[in-house]
Each structure stands twice: as structure tokens, then as C-alpha cells.
């Protein structure tokens, strides 16, 4: 009994950086869960990925300008992420390209410029840490930033929930009753970028999108309504955050990949054993109903 307690709780009791990391993960899970589910439902799973790459050159720029400053890198990531989202939207609306195609082009451009910027100071270990995640060094300021972004995300989602959902499920209907779909789409993209920026401090630009997408994709196998899917995603993300941190603590592994890989385990389990549309559920033989 004592051993179990030691294993599961004492890392968080003894080390303040573990507590910080845990709180950051739980807050991130609360914001990323609903945003990720909506991305999946809007068939924009890869747009989240693209935007996460777009955050990279912004953060690198912030670093080049003012060193390892939380605010400079956050602002840089936010600005470039939003710019890419806006540009992709504009290209989609003004030309023949579909949204995925315009996002693909823009994110590759920004990824390349991000890598180029990083290589200008390639030897700097700090920068590599921040770009690829240092959840074990989440300080108070970063924690407050994550909490603030999560709060804003949840409030805005609560306000625009109905039009956003209708824009997902039946955009033609929203147009016929007065429109507003484009505005909802844009507000939502802003939320995606905000949450990616919140995540990149803790998990790195490459891993931030993982906590958004992997739990959301797994949650599709456990629920049949938007609210319950969101709840499932948040729970999976929180579980992944907690057990990923434990894993990284006990096995001395980097925290970002540990967390996302734990979420990945949930995904594999859900694909095979999930309640709706999983491999098991689809191939189960047995009785069927009378009518």
C-alpha cells in the first residue's frame, strides 16, 4: 500500500516542479479537449498540426529578439500562428485552393523558416528545450498563462457554442438563417492557435498539438454526442498528462513525448476496444435484436 502511494503520489508531493507540471497538464487538458474535439468534428485534424508548425518560427523569432522571454516567444508564436491561419483562410476564399491545401503550403513555408531561424542559434540548448518542450521547468508565469488561456477558451466556447456547432454540422442552414459562419470559423482558429501557444511552453511546438488531437481522436470511440465526446477527451488528456509525468519521472524520460505516448496508448486501446465503431465493436459476432 505504501509502495503504491510512493509510486503514484509522492513525486508530486515532494517536488514543486512536478506539481507545476501536473497543474499545467490538467489546465491544458481542459482547454485542448474541447478544441481538439471540434477540430476532429470539423475534419480539420491536420489543420491543428499545420498551425502547430506555424507557431515555431514565431517562437524562434521571439527568442532571437529578446532571448528566453516567456512573453516574447508567446507573442511571436501567437502572431505568426494567427497570420498563417488568416492567410490560409484568405487564400481559400480568394482562390481555387481548398483549405487543407493552402494550410499545407503555408505551414511548410513556416516550418522551413522556423528551422532556419533555429539553426541560426542551433547550438543553444535552452532554445531547443523550449521549442521541444520543458514541462519540468514550467514556472509561475507560464502556469498563469496556461490557466488564463484555458479560461478564455472555455468562456468563448461557451458563448459561441451553438453557432459553432451548427457551422460544423450544417453550414448551409446557418447561411440560410443569417450567416455568421465565417466569423465563427475565424474565432475558432484563434482559439486553436491560443491553445497551441499555451501548450508549446510545456510540451514544445511539436508535441503541443498531440495533447489536443490524440485524446480528441480517441474520445470519438467512447461517446456519441459533442458534449460527452468533449468530456471523454478532457478525461483522457488529464489521464495522459498525469501518467505521462509519472512515467517520465520514474523512467527518467523526456516529459513531452511521455505524455503524448501515454495518450497514444489510450488511442490504440480505443481503436481496438472503444464502445462505438471500434475494431472489436464492428467485428463482434453475436445476437442481434428482433427489430
Amino acid at each position: 500500500m505504501n509502495h503504491l502511494f510512493e509510486f503514484f503520489l509522492s513525486p508530486f508531493r515532494e517536488f514543486i516542479f512536478m506539481r507545476h507540471a501536473l497543474v499545467a497538464c490538467l489546465a491544458l487538458a481542459l482547454g485542448c479537449g474541447p478544441v481538439g474535439v471540434l477540430l476532429v468534428l470539423r475534419r480539420m485534424s491536420l489543420v491543428g498540426d499545420a498551425l502547430s508548425h506555424a507557431v515555431l518560427p514565431g517562437a524562434a523569432l521571439g527568442f532571437l529578439v529578446s532571448g528566453l522571454s516567456l512573453y516574447a516567444m508567446t507573442l511571436g508564436g501567437l502572431a505568426v500562428g494567427l497570420a498563417v491561419a488568416l492567410l490560409a483562410g484568405a487564400v481559400t476564399r480568394l482562390t481555387l485552393l481548398r483549405e487543407d491545401a493552402s494550410f499545407a503550403a503555408l505551414y511548410l513555408i513556416s516550418l522551413a523558416s522556423g528551422v532556419l531561424l533555429v539553426s541560426l542559434r542551433g547550438s543553444n540548448i535552452d532554445l531547443i528545450h523550449v521549442l521541444f518542450g520543458t514541462i519540468l521547468a514550467v514556472d509561475d508565469a507560464a502556469l498563469i498563462l496556461v490557466a488564463a488561456i484555458t479560461t478564455v477558451t472555455l468562456l468563448i466556447l461557451a458563448v459561441i457554442y451553438r453557432p459553432l456547432i451548427v457551422e460544423c454540422v450544417d453550414p448551409g442552414f446557418l447561411r440560410s438563417v443569417g450567416g455568421g459562419g465565417a466569423a465563427m470559423h475565424f474565432i475558432f482558429l484563434v482559439l486553436v492557435v491560443l491553445n497551441l501557444v499555451a501548450g508549446f511552453r510545456a510540451l514544445g511546438t511539436l508535441m503541443a498539438v498531440g495533447l489536443m488531437m490524440v485524446p480528441a481522436v480517441s474520445a470519438r470511440f467512447w461517446a456519441r454526442q459533442v458534449w460527452s465526446t468533449t468530456l471523454a477527451a478532457v478525461i483522457i488528456a488529464m489521464l495522459a498528462g498525469y501518467s505521462g509525468l509519472l512515467l517520465s519521472f520514474h523512467a527518467n524520460l523526456p516529459s513531452g513525448p511521455s505524455i503524448i505516448l501515454t495518450a497514444g496508448l489510450c488511442y490504440v486501446f480505443s481503436v481496438i476496444f472503444g464502445r462505438h465503431g471500434s475494431i472489436y465493436e464492428r467485428h463482434r459476432k453475436g445476437e442481434h435484436l428482433e427489430g
Binding site: 468534428l41 475534419r43 458563448v159 459561441i160 451553438r162 453557432p163 456547432i165 451548427v166 460544423c168 454540422v169 450544417d170 453550414p171 448551409g172 442552414f173 447561411r175 440560410s176 438563417v177 443569417g178 455568421g180 470519438r220 461517446a223 456519441r224 454526442q225 459533442v226 465526446t229
Partner: protein, 246 residues
């Protein structure tokens, strides 16, 4: 309620007309079938009426009728059928004009949504996911939403495609009730028997208007022959149309 008046209306894409110089009136409370071969501009006309498509020429006068008072059922609704949402939620969207983006759903509004589902013969389907429905059941759901929208003008684009005879009969009953309630109904249809037995007025299009008036005067063998001769392809080298010049 005001009539919808088309004045020398031309609608189309990339400058090519799909509805060419159409003039006429949809009287308030009238029930009109729009018929014609594929590519004759029927769907385009409905998109123009709802304001989704801007006219290339001419005008649509709606009087004091607002666009939001026109309920529109597109041919292939862009609805994502895999979306995890219940039948009742989709039907409740019909209340949009009353509660808007942010208003709350009161108990009596939920009851209206239940009643609308009952009226299209889908009692008990409320908590089902829309992905579980057949094509016909889903079309009933969309009609229930139209019922709740409670609009004076209802536009239907091929509402009975992929729907079986019994569902079609039920939904035609709903349309008849709307007609009795003095709503204006404009429906794109392909089945001339349905048109003859349910729709007093008919507009026959073949890009250019072939006929518009009482159904038995429009649905004549001569007109049908005329409509059939319409060429489907755009003439890429067509000269500018001179008819709109004064």
C-alpha cells in the same frame, strides 16, 4: 404577406446564364412546382430566391419579405451525417429565428420540437444520432425542422430524391398542410404525376422560361418537347446577350 416578383431575372455562374430572362410572380399563398431537364436552372433559381446567388441581371423583389423568412431545403443538404448530434437537436434548429445564436431553449420550445417530430411520423427518434437514420427518415427530420421554422415562404429543392413512396406521400401531406395555411411553396420536382396531382401552378424552365401558369396549361406535350431540346452545355464562344440592352 408580399408576392415574390421576378423582373427580367438572369442568374448564372461565371457570366453564363443558368436562368435566362425570367419574369413573373410567385403570389402569396401559391404552390408552384418548378420543372425542367437537368441543368435547366431550377436549383439556381432557388439559390437566387434565397439570396445565396446574386443576379447577373434583372431583379428579385420580395417586398417586405425578409430573406430569413424563407425556409430553404437544398437538394443535397451539406449536413455532415457522421456528426455526433441527436435528431432532436437538428429539429430544434428550426427555432433559430426565435432564439437566435445565444437565446435559451425553454420547455415549451423543446415540446414544439417534439411535436414537429411527431408530425412527420418520427415519435421516439428524438435521442437517436442522425447517422443512424435512413435517407427517408432523415428527410422527415429536415421537414420537421422546416415545420418549426414556421416561415411564410418555403423553398424545396428535389425533396423526394432517394425517398420511398410512403415517405413521399407523408411529406406531400405536410406540404399540403402548409398550402392550406396559406404559405408560399416553391418546389423543384421531377415527377410530373406528383406535380399534376398536388401543385396548382407550374414553372417550366429550360434555362429560358418555357411556361409559367396553371399546371395543366404548362405541362403540355409541346412544352415538354421544347424543354427537351435545351442544350446542356455552355457555349464557350457565346456572344454577349443583347436582350437586356434597352
Amino acid at each position: 404577406m408580399d408576392a415574390i416578383i421576378l423582373d427580367d431575372l438572369t442568374l448564372g455562374y461565371n457570366g453564363h446564364p443558368a436562368v435566362h430572362h425570367l419574369s413573373g410572380v410567385f403570389e402569396p399563398g401559391s404552390m408552384t412546382a418548378v420543372v425542367g431537364p437537368n441543368g435547366s436552372g431550377k436549383s439556381t433559381l432557388l439559390k437566387g430566391l434565397t439570396g445565396i446567388l446574386r443576379p447577373l441581371g434583372g431583379r428579385i423583389e420580395r417586398g417586405c419579405l425578409r430573406i430569413s423568412q424563407m425556409a430553404y431545403l437544398p437538394q443535397q443538404a451539406e449536413i455532415d451525417r457522421s456528426f455526433p448530434i441527436t435528431v432532436l437537436d437538428i429539429v430544434a434548429l428550426g427555432l433559430w429565428q426565435r432564439i437566435g445564436m445565444f437565446g435559451g431553449m425553454k420547455k415549451e420550445l423543446w415540446e414544439q420540437a417534439w411535436q414537429a417530430l411527431g408530425a412527420v411520423g418520427l415519435e421516439g427518434f428524438e435521442p437517436r444520432a442522425i447517422g443512424d437514420l435512413s435517407a427517408g427518415q432523415f428527410q422527415r427530420v429536415l421537414f420537421a425542422r422546416l415545420l418549426l421554422q414556421d416561415c411564410p415562404v418555403i423553398l424545396l429543392d428535389e425533396p423526394f430524391t432517394a425517398v420511398d413512396a410512403r415517405t413521399t406521400a407523408d411529406l406531400l401531406g405536410v406540404i399540403r398542410r402548409w398550402h392550406a395555411e396559406n404559405r408560399t411553396i416553391i418546389a423543384v420536382l421531377h415527377n410530373y404525376d406528383q406535380v399534376r396531382s398536388y401543385f396548382p401552378k407550374t414553372l417550366m424552365l429550360a434555362r429560358d422560361p418555357i411556361g409559367w401558369g396553371d399546371t395543366h396549361e404548362v405541362l403540355t406535350p409541346e412544352n415538354l418537347q421544347l424543354a427537351r431540346q435545351m442544350s446542356e452545355a455552355w457555349d464557350e464562344t457565346a456572344a454577349a446577350c443583347l436582350r437586356s440592352q434597352p
